[in-house]
């Protein structure tokens, strides 16, 4: 059973067919060619597939593809163009990525936090990325990078 689905992907309208039971993650990666969200668990436990749907942070792996019909879907690719997001610069400067697999989801989660709470405390940063697992960094450089951007955006 295939169903047509129309939505906005990083600002661009797209129309595709989705198989019944297919996840948004599979649709984005295999059919749309946006490989920036990653498969880490398929259970909502790791956050590697974090995307924004109508501005809200969500997990692409647990989203039934056809439910995004009419929605705006954003991945980390939306943040990189035309210029890098300050968070991406800060992650590079703070050594906040090692293997890089969690990084796209982590940055989407962090950007969603700063858009709604431009001046988060350290605890609020930790809460905001509590669904995004990182196995390499030990989180500290990531938290530092996000706080550095918050300080910079508020003072600017």
């Amino acid at each position: 059973m295939t169903t047509p689905v129309h939505f906005t992907h990083n600002g661009r309208p797209v129309s595709l067919f989705t198989e019944a039971g297919e996840s948004l993650l599979s649709l984005l990666r295999l059919k749309l060619g946006d490989q920036t969200p990653k498969y880490g668990c398929g259970q909502g436990g790791c956050g590697a597939c974090s995307v924004r749907i109508d501005g809200q942070l969500r997990l692409a792996c647990l989203t039934l593809a056809e439910t995004v019909d009419g929605a705006e879907v954003e991945t980390v690719a939306a943040l990189s163009a035309p210029n890098l997001d300050p968070l991406q610069e800060a992650f590079m400067d703070h050594f906040a990525a090692q293997c890089g697999y969690c990084t796209p989801g982590m940055i989407v989660a962090a950007r969603t936090l700063l858009d709604t709470n431009p001046r988060p405390s350290r605890d609020e940063v930790i809460e905001a990325i509590s669904g995004n697992l990182c196995r390499c960094t030990g989180y500290e450089p990531i938290i530092d990078a996000i706080l550095a951007v918050a300080a910079q955006e508020v003072s600017a």
Binding site: M1, S23, Q56, L59, L64, S130
Partner: protein
């Protein structure tokens, strides 16, 4: 066999579909069902995408308030009416998951999930189920116990708590958010230094969230002293088989349940009412 999908805003149709087909499930936020599909669970064959304003409603109703089954944890947190559930809702998942996970889904979440349900049990909530073209209410505990009849849950009704106050805690291995080792929700009413009513529920401990009647009896009638609390904690394991999984053994879960009940009630000791 490919999965079938039905989109509808007719609760009656959804109720008939799930009653007649054990492979049919109403989709909440997808946090439980999508995982099962990814892992090849052959039991999930038919997804029902049910919509309608009632299902996402959070509103006062006579004698309490109603939360629609499709309301997310984030919706609960944004609703002042549902203040009693803010702490439990905030303890579920992480931000992205809270935007997705629904109240209805939490009632049927696989253990050790079901933190909100644990709190709802302690609040003596009722399940609002579809009945013909109307609605029916039954105690949530009864709905959870009867796993054979497949009913469509439209929402839950949380009665006014009068003088009772909810105390809630959740123990996890990872911080700040993680799956439950044990979740404790205790609603206590006190008068003249005595506990006049206690509803105590545990999540993450056994196959589903449950009310611990032995604990409740041990707490009711006397003052909330350390001895009473210790006696009550020893009753947690009555009639249950603690659950073992990759996170913790049943033995560990039960021991942690005792400790966290003692701590939770220890803080309740000093709190007003």
């Amino acid at each position: 066999m490919p999965i079938e999908i039905t989109r509808t805003d007719d609760p009656g149709l959804a109720a008939r579909l799930i009653a007649n087909d054990r492979g049919a499930y109403v989709m909440g936020g997808g946090t439980g069902l999508m995982r099962r599909i990814h892992e090849g669970d052959q039991a999930v064959r038919h997804l029902i995408l049910l919509s309608g304003p009632r299902l996402r409603q959070i509103a006062p109703e006579r004698g309490g308030f109603f939360i629609g089954a499709q309301a997310s944890m984030a919706d609960v947190l944004a609703a002042p009416e549902a203040r009693a559930l803010h702490q439990p809702a905030a303890s579920v998942g992480a931000p992205a998951l809270r935007n997705m996970a629904t109240v209805g889904g939490n009632l049927f979440a696989r253990p050790p999930y079901g933190d909100l349900t644990t709190a709802l049990l302690a609040l003596d909530a009722e399940a609002v189920t579809a009945s013909g073209s109307g609605e029916d209410r039954r105690p949530l505990a009864l709905l959870l116990e009867d796993r054979t009849t497949r009913r469509l849950v439209l929402g839950v009704f949380v009665p006014d708590q009068g003088g009772a106050r909810l105390h809630y805690t959740k123990m996890t291995r990872s911080h700040p958010r993680g799956a439950s080792i044990v979740t404790v929700a205790a609603s206590l009413a006190r008068s003249g230094g005595r506990v006049t009513m206690a509803r105590v529920a545990f999540g993450g401990l056994a196959g589903a969230p449950f009310r611990a009647s032995g604990v409740e009896r041990a707490l009711t009638g006397g003052p909330l002293g350390s001895e009473t609390i210790a006696t009550a904690a020893e009753r947690i394991g009555d009639g249950i088989t603690p659950m073992s999984d990759a996170l913790a053994s049943g033995w560990y879960r039960l021991e942690m349940a005792k400790i966290h009940l003692r701590r939770l009630l220890g803080t309740a000791q000093g709190s007003p009412s």
